[in-house]
């Protein structure tokens, strides 16, 4: 799950996958704007077949949260 999420994020943001970790905060990545966030969310949900409830999705701050929420589903 975590690898899949990292993989999608690194591709969408054109970042080295080794620079992606759970602690990475969305606000700290310049390229990670709200549109990119939505496209990442959408792709993660499709790739994993899981959905993050919108209440959580709207509040995401870090990569780790996304992974954690997907694992909860």
């Amino acid at each position: 799950m975590r690898e899949k999420v990292y993989d999608i994020i690194s591709k969408k943001l054109e970042m080295d996958i080794n620079d992606i970790n759970d602690e990475l905060r969305i606000a700290d990545v310049e390229a990670w704007d709200s549109l990119t966030y939505l496209l990442i969310l959408e792709e993660i949900e499709m790739a994993t077949g899981k959905t993050i409830p919108i209440e959580k999705a709207a509040e995401a701050e870090s990569v780790g949260q996304l992974v954690e929420w997907l694992e909860e589903e």
Binding site: A27, L35, L38, L41, I54, A58
Partner: protein
């Protein structure tokens, strides 16, 4: 290459981003600014001078707020009125037909309001496109129909980002836009459709005495396919046959089978023989005097398709459907993809008739209003609200606003919290409403206070850009500072990749540039000589 503009009342950024990989595309900063961009002569859109302008209207976002049909109908009238006065003659416009994302609750007053809006829109469109041959319809509802409303739209994307469409929906829209661009450039117009016979125009193999063509099950599929092809011929497609058969067997079916819809005379050329098909096709191109690139070849045999693709790469060879029942639809798609012309929708008088019957309607009123009148009509109201009570939203705006963000300072939660509780800063926060509804808290101004007041941060959400709201907000802030005894206000613009739209904001507001270096511009304004500005939004201090 064509210059493309995309205007919408919803967030099209994801689609625009993809299109920008292939085309020069302009889309206004912020969304919802369809009429604003069109009517504002000084807008970036008008400076861009697009060859093709796509106007994509999300029906639900535009109409679901109205309870009375007349209100929504007025919006339609004024939309086409503004378009009429603002449109450029060198630009081709594609405007979609309406599709509603979900049903509204039916009331006893009016029970089919969405259908009425859709009909009103379409009839207004056809009236309009009759007068302007540079206006065409982008048939949006058929895109939705193709994959189904549930898969086309995404409620989650809508609520999170004002993107009504799922990734599937966005792909459909993007493909359609690209198809329209190709249509416009005349790139996809093919002239000749070459058809195989056995298992293509009819089922079975005529040489073996078996022809499936009838009014029942599988036979009907082929008959329906022939109806489609017949219509294509009527629209100007040149038909030809390339088939490996004994000529007399094939001609016998063509001439004598009672279920044949296509007749021998419908075909401009026939090559029914045992030669290789690439050779036949080359001869046809010569005999009809058309280029190989204007030929589409349709055959059920994968081998034949491969051969033609390999030997004659200029010839277009569409896939043959896996399921026989999809043949007629497949041919319709081939028509739209390769033979459609930009002007069909215009002359599609039948469609017009159909929509006309839907209801009695007022004659389309021409109403040209100026951008300024439009802004006045919007009745924009700005409500200053407490920043402290909306800390989370302020944080969000500080971190996620790129375009209308003069200095792009991304304060941390802690910093922001401190600023909100400090005497050295004032954080102004605004809730913006207009007659169409509430935009929510969408503007923040942070002013640092020392000897002089300095606008440290000025942010507006892209969804309210382009309505001169900033002018009123700045006037409000200046006024507050003046009351508090400040004589001078300073401001700055720090250039980023994305905030170009506001590069000249302070210049336009009469601020004096006092320093300009390396992407940083600093400004000053003496509050005693603020020039008179025309303001379109009203500030309304709410009593809580």
């Amino acid at each position: 290459m064509s210059k493309i503009a995309v205007l919408s009342n919803v967030n099209m950024d994801a689609i625009v981003k993809n299109l920008q990989r292939k085309y020069e595309v302009f889309s206004p900063a912020g969304y919802g600014n369809v009429v604003e961009e069109l009517s504002n002569a000084g807008s970036e859109l008008n400076a861009f001078k697009p060859d093709i302008c796509f106007i994509i209207i999300d029906a639900s976002a535009m109409f679901d707020r109205y309870d009375r049909f007349e209100e929504g109908a007025g919006v339609i009238t004024s939309f086409f009125g503004i378009l009429e006065s603002a449109m450029g003659t060198n630009t081709t416009y594609y405007i979609n037909d309406l599709d509603f994302r979900s049903d509204v609750l039916k009331t006893d007053i009016i029970d089919n309001i969405q259908e009425l809006y859709a009909a009103e829109w379409t009839s207004a469109f056809f009236e309009f496109s009759k007068k302007h041959n540079n206006v065409h319809m982008l048939t949006f509802s058929s895109l939705v129909k193709r994959i189904g409303s549930c898969d086309f739209y995404s409620a989650k994307m809508w609520y999170l980002g004002r993107i009504p469409f799922s990734v599937l929906g966005r792909n459909e829209i993007q493909n359609e836009i690209e198809k329209c661009i190709k249509l416009h450039e005349g790139m996809c117009v093919k002239k000749v459709l070459l058809l195989d016979l056995d298992n293509t125009l009819w089922g079975g193999i005529c040489g073996e005495g078996k022809v499936i063509l009838s009014d029942e099950n599988v036979g009907l599929i082929y008959k329906d396919l022939q109806y489609v092809i017949k219509r294509m011929k009527r629209s100007g497609v040149i038909l030809g046959i390339v088939s490996k058969n004994n000529e007399e067997d094939a001609l016998d079916v063509l001439r004598n089978n009672q279920h044949m819809i296509l007749e021998e005379s419908d075909f401009a050329i026939m090559k029914i023989n045992w030669e290789n098909k690439d050779k036949n096709i080359r001869e046809i191109a010569d005999e009809l005097n058309v280029g190989l690139s204007s030929i589409v070849f349709f055959d059920d045999s994968e081998n034949e398709r491969m051969l033609v693709k390999t030997m004659l790469p200029e010839v277009t060879v569409p896939d043959f459907p896996d399921k026989t029942e999809n043949l007629p639809e497949c041919m319709v798609n081939i028509f739209f993809e390769y033979f459609d012309k930009e002007n069909y929708t215009l002359e599609d008088s039948k469609k017009t008739e159909l929509y006309r019957q839907n209801k009695e309607r007022e004659l389309f009123k021409q109403r040209s209003i100026s951008y300024e009148d439009y802004l006045k009509e919007l009745k924009i109201k700005i409500y200053p609200v407490s920043a402290k009570e909306n800390e989370e939203r302020v944080y969000q705006l500080v971190h996620k606003t790129n375009q209308f963000n003069l200095t792009t300072k991304r304060y941390s939660r802690d910093d922001l919290h401190e600023m909100l509780n400090s005497d050295e800063y004032i954080v102004y926060t605004f809730d913006i409403k207009d007659k169409f509804g509430d935009n929510g808290i969408t503007a923040v101004v942070i002013v640092s206070l020392s000897d002089v007041a300095e606008i440290d941060t000025f942010i507006m959400s892209c969804r309210i850009m382009g309505r001169k709201i900033e002018d009123s907000i700045i006037a409000y802030v200046e006024n507050k500072l003046k009351i508090n005894g400040f004589g001078v206000v300073r401001a700055s613009y720090i250039n980023t990749e994305k905030n170009k739209p506001v590069e000249k904001l302070y210049d336009g507001l009469g601020y004096k540039c006092i320093e300009c270096s390396n992407g940083l511009k600093r400004y000053e304004l003496k509050l005693c000589d603020v020039q008179k500005r025309e303001l379109y939004a009203e500030i309304s201090e709410r009593e809580d």
